[in-house]
Amino acid sequence: MNLTLKIWRQSGPQDPGAMHEYQIRGISEESSFLEMLDVLNEELFARGEEPIAFDSDCREGICGQCGIVINGVAHGPEVTTTCQLHMRTFNDGDVITIEPWRAQAFPIIKDLVVNRSALDRIIQAGGYISVNTGAAPDAHATPVPKGDADRAFEAAACIGCGACVAACPNASAMLFTSAKVTHLQLLPQGKPENLRRVVAMLNQLDEEGFGSCTNIGECAAVCPKEIPLDVISTLNRQLGKAAFMGV
């Protein structure tokens, strides 16, 4: 396939950045979106231009490292990660615009690469169960009803890619945060710290400069792991409880 690509280029955080246009030919429909960019980069190299910087690692849809806005949609037109988007989704001759995640809390490092460390700091604020190594009880000592385990699993599937933030008009990280809270609070092991966790994580979310959630739902629409929107209500209920209990 032959395509026209309009790509955001920015040499560093201080550079204002701009869209650049590239023509590319001979892309196999079997290739992934990132393999298409690899091909473009080899061509740029041959022309003596600098390759486009973009993030990826596993290329299997699981590490969460990739992530770009394609034709205005985080991760592009299908519900999947950028690395698992394949060129057969596009048509010969298409014009495709490619931009980085845009959010105040995700400063641009270069071209399509942004800094998502703010998400780690939200986890540091309480997104864990406080257990030290080496003294855990037998795994069968605490049965977990299958329904709870499955729902916890569904929320635990978040890969921390940040697409939800990129898609949200307020650049809120509520879906990400709620997914973690939901995962941990559904398991008996995670319950004791639950309310403290909710408050601490939400405080951190504000501190990082993420916007607040106004229930728009764009986040769940682009989430490659289909984290359901109702995890946000789970979190809100916990928040209400925390306020009531004065946590």
Binding site: S28, M36, K110, H140, P143, P145, A157
Partner: protein, 659 residues
């Protein structure tokens, strides 16, 4: 091989060192005895000690979190933007543990036995026994952290079985076991970051190791966003940097997986163990063409219900598989290995798939003239269990397959082919996970231990977490206690400055070549040499040829590579790749030398000259019952081979048979 050639390629040195495993007690008491005899560090003194951990996968993440909890100062480095993205995340299948929750006669001893046998008797008894021993505690630890393992309606954990064993001891979390385990370790790590015991260094790549007075005392790391080289000194260094399968370019590893950290340490004196032992995984999605950047694994758990076949006749290969009647299909694994069938170990399943394709009975698109694919068929399973049950068990894998290939595996059989997956080799370590370089510890896939010549499924996750949560936190104390009184190394000391200068000189050299070939083009060429001559089947002739080709390619690399962009001031992904490929060029040669020296077939290492009449791997225990530990002697100089003899006191060596 003539002696002359040997001397050109390598020389033999002293046998390997004592492994520190207490051999005066029975095997089952080794670990307790070692823990008891190891020196301790008083909690108040721990905060005066600093440990560097490179890598935050299961091994490094678990170790960093555990050592942080104990009160040490930990610096954790990784090249991704978040610790949660280490490649352990990609593991789909599961993690083994001897819990006997299934009442199927599983035990520590059986897990130990299966692992040693599966590794074709090329693993160290003491290490493997310990792995089996702590396996049960790993599951407990992970459940306590909130890892959402698959459960049954009664609320208890579910299990399944994996290739090469006959019990159900594999714990799993749908197709995301690695992700869920890693997130558990990552959360424990972030908790320590918040507590101030661990400092994370995201997007930092270790490019050199600091050795002072014969001890590992720190690293040089490159801040990938600014290009700045930074110096970090410590009391001990742990490398947990994963596997080096990307030396083959196409593999199931993540794009960034590399050998740089362990290779830099090797060049500074750390021995490299069994570099040629590479695992080829039988169930990957076949290559689609030349724009491909990596291969994707389909979990081997699929072999529990999927049946593997090829057409009996080459003429049928292009037909729609659904139109090929039962009697014209060759379910070759079930035919050749009736008692294990589709669940034979990976090396066997891989080699047989290759044999079928080489015979001209492969299916799917042709790459270089050969159709490289075999069918993995779920039609029977769907008929037996119903589509819904198949979907509940494997749905996400089916979706992944369809997303990548555009084919629906509920309707037509999947196509699979072997791909490079896991490296059993790595830096040589003793029972304490310490390399021969004092103060340098190596954990997870980066070390050579525990798996022997072949890794059984679901055992790498177990090893990573065993190393990180349970072994290192107990053994490293012994070293730290003894070096507690060493003077702190000054950042301006000559050894530190020299390491920094070396790292800088290497980057300058890469930037200065200014030729006209891209780094990727070299990486692909190296990969195809490795796959052709040091892949699934190796011959003396092919390996010698490969060594020559790699040497030429390396010379060409240093004469003709071009690294665009700047080395300082901004992100430069080409430069990152260039450094890694330069190291792969040297490692690739050592892998070929190691494979050439090992004139036997074992596990993932198949020498065509050494096979039984039936075409199975033929070991030569009389000559090769040892670990190869290689010492670096300088660029272009023949390395020195140290042999660590393997002692089997508790397991009888048998010819491995899965028939």
């Amino acid at each position: 091989m003539t002696d002359n050639l040997n001397k050109d390629l390598y020389t033999e040195g002293e046998p390997a060192l004592d492994t520190k495993a207490p051999m005066d007690v029975p095997l089952s008491e080794c670990w307790e005895a070692r823990k008891f005899r190891a020196a301790l560090v008083n909690p108040a003194n721990r905060r005066k000690l600093r440990v560097i951990i490179v890598g935050t996968g299961l091994a490094g993440g678990a170790a960093a979190a555990s050592l942080g909890e104990m009160g040490y100062n930990v610096d954790a480095f990784f090249y991704q933007d978040s610790a949660r993205r280490a490649h352990s995340i990609a593991a789909q299948g599961g993690i083994n543990a001897a819990k006997n929750y299934r009442n199927d006669n599983d035990s520590v001893h059986r897990l130990f036995y299966d692992t040693v046998k599966g590794g074709d008797y090329r693993a160290r008894e003491t290490n493997v026994y310990r792995l089996a021993e702590v396996s049960a505690a790993i599951i407990d630890q992970c459940v306590a952290q909130g890892v959402p393992f698959a459960r049954e309606y009664g609320g208890l954990l579910d299990n399944r079985s994996f290739g090469g064993v006959q019990v159900s001891r594999t714990f799993y979390a749908r197709g995301q076991t690695g992700q869920q385990l890693l997130i558990g370790a990552y959360q424990a790590l972030e908790r320590q970051v918040a507590a101030g015991t661990v400092t994370e260094h995201p997007r930092h790549e270790m490019v050199e190791i600091i050795v002072s007075e014969g001890r590992a005392r720190g690293i040089i790391a490159r801040d990938m966003t600014t290009g700045e080289l930074q110096t970090f000194v410590a009391d001990a260094v742990v490398l947990a940097t994963g596997g080096y399968g990307n030396v083959f370019f196409l593999s199931t590893n993540a794009m960034g997986c590399n050998a740089t950290a362990i290779w830099r340490a090797h060049r500074k004196g750390a021995w490299f163990g069994n570099p040629c032992f590479t695992q080829i995984h039988p169930t990957c999605i076949p290559q689609h063409g030349d724009q491909q950047s990596k291969l994707t694994l389909m979990s081997e758990s699929l072999r529990n219900d999927g049946r593997i076949w090829v057409p009996k006749r080459a003429e049928d290969c292009e037909k729609d598989p659904r139109d090929i009647p039962e009697e014209d299909r060759d379910y070759y694994l079930e035919r050749i290995y009736p008692s294990f069938g589709n669940l034979v170990p990976r090396d066997i399943a891989s080699r047989q798939a290759k044999n079928m394709c080489d015979e001209g009975r492969g299916v799917g698109p042709k790459i270089d003239g050969v159709a490289r694919g075999v069918y993995l068929d779920f039609a029977d399973a769907i008929q037996r269990m119903g589509r819904a049950a198949v979907s509940a068990k494997y749905g996400n894998l089916f979706d992944m397959y369809e997303r990548i290939t555009g084919d629906n595996p509920y309707e037509t059989p999947m196509r699979i082919y072997p791909a490079v997956h896991y490296t059993m080799g790595g830096l040589w370590v003793d029972y304490d996970l310490e390399s021969n370089l004092p103060g340098l510890y190596v954990a997870g896939e980066a070390n050579f231990s525990d798996h022997g010549a072949n890794r059984l499924g679901a055992s790498a996750l177990m090893q990573g977490l065993s190393d990180g949560y349970f072994v290192l936190p107990n053994t490293i104390n012994d070293y730290l206690a003894k070096c507690f009184n060493l003077p702190k190394l000054d950042e301006s000391s000559p050894d530190v400055v020299a390491a920094l200068e070396e790292a800088q000189a290497r980057i300058d050299r890469l930037m200065a070549v200014g030729g006209n070939r891209s780094v990727d083009s070299f990486h692909k060429e190296l990969g195809s040499i490795m796959w052709e001559y040091c892949g699934m089947e190796r011959t003396a002739e092919g390996l010698k040829k490969a060594i020559g080709l790699i040497r030429e390619l390396r010379a060409e690399f240093w004469a003709n590579v071009r690294v665009p962009g700047k080395s300082i001031g901004e992100l430069n992904q080409s430069l990152e790749k260039a450094g890694r490929v330069a190291d792969f060029m040297e490692l690739g040669e050592l892998m070929c030398i190691d494979a050439l020296v090992r004139e036997e077939s074992c596990g993932g290492h198949f020498r065509a000259e050494s096979q039984t009449e039936e075409g199975e791997a033929l070991r030569h225990d009389d000559r090769f019952l040892f670990v190869s530990a290689w010492e670096w002697t300088g660029e272009g100089q023949p390395p020195i081979l140290h042999k660590e003899e393997l002692v089997y006191n508790n397991i009888e060596l048998k010819q491995r048979s899965y028939k």
